[in-house]
Amino acid sequence: MTTPSKAADPVVQALQRVLAAQHAAVYSYPVIGVALRDAGQVDRARQLEDRHRDTRDAVLAQLAARHAVPVPAEASYVPPQPVTGPADAQRWALELEQACAAAYRYLLVAPVLAAAAAPTGPAGDGSDAASAAAEQAALRRQALTGLNTAARDATGWRTLLSPTAPTVPFPGL
């Protein structure tokens, strides 16, 4: 069971956001794949579904290690607009990747917020401080990798939708 202090932990909150975004992607990519026509894009949707599933499982394990109850997947996910053709499917895929980027961007900030909220008392054991620093560094690396990957995948879908403006200056914002 998630204790109130765990639920308020910015890192747990950020991981829950990442998990929610992965749930949505795992549910949605099979539906997107059906609506796509181009074989390469269908393959890409399948690859992304697999990757999001792996990430979802990894984040589930991370939350379990932190004794937090992971957010469950929703019963169904609604696309931003009815999917009647490949372009609608690409827009949905773009939205999923943008949501992942936003979640990872928040995961970048979460350890900073946690550090600011941490009570300032006498420093404990040196090894505790070292392991906490290593954990923070690992979280930041994970968040940066996730943000990079989501930005790259979003650019892939955006290139199909708007070839003249395939990127955004601040992914995840």
């Binding site: 961007r105 970048l108 940066l144 930005a151 403006a165």
Partner: protein, 179 residues
């Protein structure tokens, strides 16, 4: 001879002692002038990120003179210009940066949306797009490293860390367009 009361004599003696003591202190104690110490300079990681952004922007400006019709290139340049604006805004939080900018008005630091000193001539090489891709890759790597190194406890970490992360992700996504 005028009569002087003992009280008057005592008062004069006290006054004389106080004046003498004050004069002695004034002559012997070191005068400490309060000199305003300049604020510390902004973190080098941030100024280096801004320098990279300006150099990249200069490269785009040079390439766009010959490759204006290439789709997406103007959009990438706009992204890089936006990075400069955001970095400039974050740097404003550091009094050392504001002081440095004010002091160097004669050197006229370029506005964030404009390119600074032109990029080295040799970097254009035979394939300007490949050179841009290489510059973007190198900037993305350096920005990622800066983001990883930034301390959680730094006062502006909540603004700087996600900004550097987003810039690095954006520059990485540029590589897909610059293929």
């Amino acid at each position: 001879m005028a009569d002087i009361s003992r009280r008057t004599l005592l008062n004069r003696a006290l006054l004389g002692t106080a004046l003498g003591g004050g004069a002695l202190l004034g002559l012997t104690r070191r005068v400490r002038h309060q000199v305003a110490t300049p604020p510390p300079p902004p973190p080098a990681e941030l100024t280096a990120a801004l320098a990279r952004q300006r150099q990249l922007l200069a490269s785009y400006d040079r390439v766009l003179t010959t490759e204006r019709s290439r789709p997406g290139l103007a959009g990438l340049r706009a992204d890089v210009a936006a990075h400069g604006t955001a970095l400039h805004e974050v740097l404003q939080h550091y009094p050392g940066w504001r002081l440095a900018v004010t002091a160097s008005t004669s050197r006229a630091a370029p506005a964030p949306g404009t390119s600074g000193s032109p990029a080295p001539a040799g970097s254009a090489a035979a394939d300007p797009i490949a050179a841009l891709a290489e510059a973007s890759r190198s900037a993305a790597t350096a920005t990622t490293a800066a983001c990883l190194r930034w301390p959680d406890t730094e006062p502006h970490a909540a603004q700087v860390v996600p900004l550097l992360g987003s810039i690095a992700a954006c520059l990485t996504s540029h590589l897909q367009v610059l293929r």
